[in-house]
């Protein structure tokens, strides 16, 4: 371990004093959970609890992060804390990888095991008309074993997903340019490229929104379109949500840059968001190949 020594006024260990943020955030999430659970069971009041909880939660996060940022800018965080943040971000991204792994695993299992099984000789006892074709719809084939899924068309890689791939890849580049500019001390350029990155992220989301609209209105491809629709929307939707979160992170980093936060040497907040963005990017490449091409 790199043993950073305490420098000047920066404490060796940073231990914050008592804080009300954690418990407040937990209370917010309680209302989120309660509301969501009730709302999806047709209790309309759940909606209000959900919204209230979310607002509450984000208020708390704002205060919490605000405090952390002040501590950081106030020079409370030593190199050791910086290293802690690095480790934690790395492990957090690992947990996200595993979250995606569950959904990719589902896709793999459905295609490689369940589908052939459902269409096998043995299973013809149960689903005599079903042909195991992925995606599970095509002209002349039953859309799902029970025939309950309305016919739909699948989402190909061209053109929207490919445009999105280009957008994300470009955003990775602009982000890196911003990073280099920050290291070089060129704040103006950093900020400009950060805005560009955020904009690319937003564009990605808009294109994806349009893609969903297209799927629902023209392809008749829905969440309920059998296992194809389930995996398609779950994977791309979960990813889209991550793009949204990553975009927010970048946005806040950009705003902080404008306020003069971060230095050439120390800017882990920036780097953490960048790691996350690259992670989201890599997941997209996986999606692009596995969901859209294969």
């Amino acid at each position: 371990m790199s043993a950073a020594t305490s420098t000047g006024k920066t404490p060796y260990y940073f231990v914050p004093g008592p804080s009300r943020h954690p418990v407040m955030a937990a209370i917010g999430l309680f209302f989120v959970m309660l509301g969501a659970g009730q709302w999806i069971n047709d209790h309309d009041w759940g909606k209000y609890s959900l919204i209230f909880g979310l607002l509450w939660f984000f208020m708390v996060l704002k205060q919490w992060f605000g405090e952390a940022i002040r501590e950081s800018e106030g020079g409370q965080y030593s190199n050791r804390i910086d290293a802690s943040f690095r480790w934690s971000m790395g492990w957090f991204i690992f947990s996200e990888v595993m979250f995606f792994a569950a959904f990719f695993g589902a896709l793999y299992w459905a295609r490689v095991h369940s589908l052939p099984n459902l269409g096998s000789m043995e299973n013809s006892l149960l689903w005599p008309d079903f042909k195991a074709i992925w995606p599970s719809t095509a002209a002349g084939f039953t859309a799902s074993p029970a025939g309950t899924v309305e016919p739909f068309a699948t989402m190909g890689p061209w053109p929207l997903p490919t445009i999105n791939t280009a957008l994300l890849l470009t955003s990775g580049v602009t982000l890196t340019v911003a990073h280099h500019a920050l290291i070089a001390g060129n704040r103006g350029k950093t900020i400009a490229f950060m805005w560009l990155t955020v904009l690319l992220g937003v564009t990605f989301l808009c294109v994806q929104g349009y893609e969903y609209h297209h799927a629902y209105s023209e392809l008749n491809l829905k969440l309920s379109s059998g296992i194809y629709g389930s995996t398609f929307f779950m994977l791309t939707g979960f990813h889209g949500f991550h793009v949204f979160v990553g975009m927010l992170m970048l946005l806040f980093i950009t705003l902080r840059l404008q306020k003069g936060h971060f230095t050439k040497e120390r800017h882990f907040g920036f780097e953490g968001a960048a790691w996350y963005w690259h992670f989201v990017d890599v997941v997209w490449l996986g999606l692009y190949m596995i969901v859209y091409w294969m």
């Binding site: 914050p16 004093g17 418990v23 959970m33 595993m98 569950a102 695993g105 799902s144 309920s224």
Partner: protein
Amino acid sequence: MSAVLDNHGHAGHGAHDHDHHDHHDHHAPSGWRRWVYATNHKDIGTLYLLFAFTMLMIGGVLALCIRAELFQPGLQFFNPELFNQFTTMHGLIMVFGAIMPAFVGFANWMIPLQIGASDMAFARMNNFSFWLMIPAAIMLVASFFMPGGAPAAGWTLYAPLTLQMGPSMDAGIFAMHILGASSIMGSINIIVTILNMRAPGMTLMKMPMFAWTWLITAYLLIAVMPVLAGAITMTLTDRHFGTSFFSPAGGGDPVMYQHIFWFFGHPEVYIMILPAFGIISQIVPTFARKRLFGYASMVYATASIAILSFIVWAHHMFATGMPVTGQLFFMYATMLIAVPTGVKIFNWLATMWRGSMTFEVPMLWAVGFIFVFTMGGFTGLVCAMAPIDIQIQDTYYVVAHFHYVLVAGSLFALFAGVYFWGPKWTGVMFNATRGKIHFWSSLISFNVTFFPMHFLGLAGMPRRYADYPIQFADFNMIASIGAFWFGFTQVYFFLFVVIPMMRGKGEKAPQQPWEGAEGLEWEVPSPAPFHTFEEPPKLNASATKVIG
């Protein structure tokens, strides 16, 4: 310090605002804020332990309801639906509410002390991990009072049965999401603390075993909790948003749920035992007055168990009808785990061998653990043999197996740890006689409860049954009697050991209550002061003593 920090002078911080300015003050915050706004690892550790104990009581009462119903054949008290809710909630509450948080409580208390750090790496997030569990626990317990009652699909929450559950299922799913988030944050905290906050000289291979086992456990948690979250998210969308992940009519597969669940579930059971191994590895050398035998191989064995745990999950699914190759692969892989686990057992024996042993209460529990856990390990191996498992899968044999490893394993190790470190936490010694009564009574009643379940399982009594053929009556009755005895023993423990210690009644504990104890936690006074190791200590060559 700067003006920036003065911004904190708003409501809620009140009198303790000065804490922000001076992180080196030595008096603890007081009143309810000390606990609710806690950022101190010891306080948070205490909160975790109290929470876990409460959940153990609730889960235990549910277990006793199960045992009361099964005392005799014929429905005695509950209808089968309610019975299934008890079984399900007992499993969930014990696993996610009692055992896991209890180990996190230990981690909070001990890891910073053991590695010479002032606190956990992220003190506020640490408290967040704790407070997240409260709403989740409320949601879980409250689900009994929702229309249709609590989830009743077993703690494994297999689809498609979960699709038939009422609204409480959704509450349960959200609660599990929150618990998962809590575990992940807690684990990140532990890993970062261990990797980044060790005092200079405390190299990884000098670290106490408890810290090591938690490092590996935390890694397992981060790897598998998200997978569970994925599985239950799919359940949620299948229930409400028209997806068909687990519904064959739309091309999905119920067995897919099981694969994803057990990819989480099997590592999960090692999550509940590795820290127990850590505690035992601290206690045995202490009371044998001899260094832990084979420290390095202990570390490697722990790591091997963790790695192997990822490739054995389908041993829970032998009866789902896997192809021959699948059955063989999972059977072999599972059996392999006996090897590193054996290494641990043998190392403990070798540590005792030619030591100079005494049998204070913690050591009794440790020896009891080794003895009874090994029995549970052997029955695990019996389960791992696919052809035998076809007979005993989903019978009481499995229930016996996992209570041997979970109750006599995890829970006994927790008790051992409470007796071992309790004096450090509270500053008073427990009453040794009462500790011994607690131990012997628990050990015997535990076996009375769970040993007959092996017979029941072999004879073919399925688990999760509210009623059973009369031929199974006698062993069930014995088990139920044992269960109540075991339960009341824990009440005794709470009333006559825990409460007095918490109220500071008893002999004052010396800084080092155990003659053979080594390690940094014994270098601070008892009870451990609010702040410890604010400046990194200078350590001797074996990193067990502070020399400056």
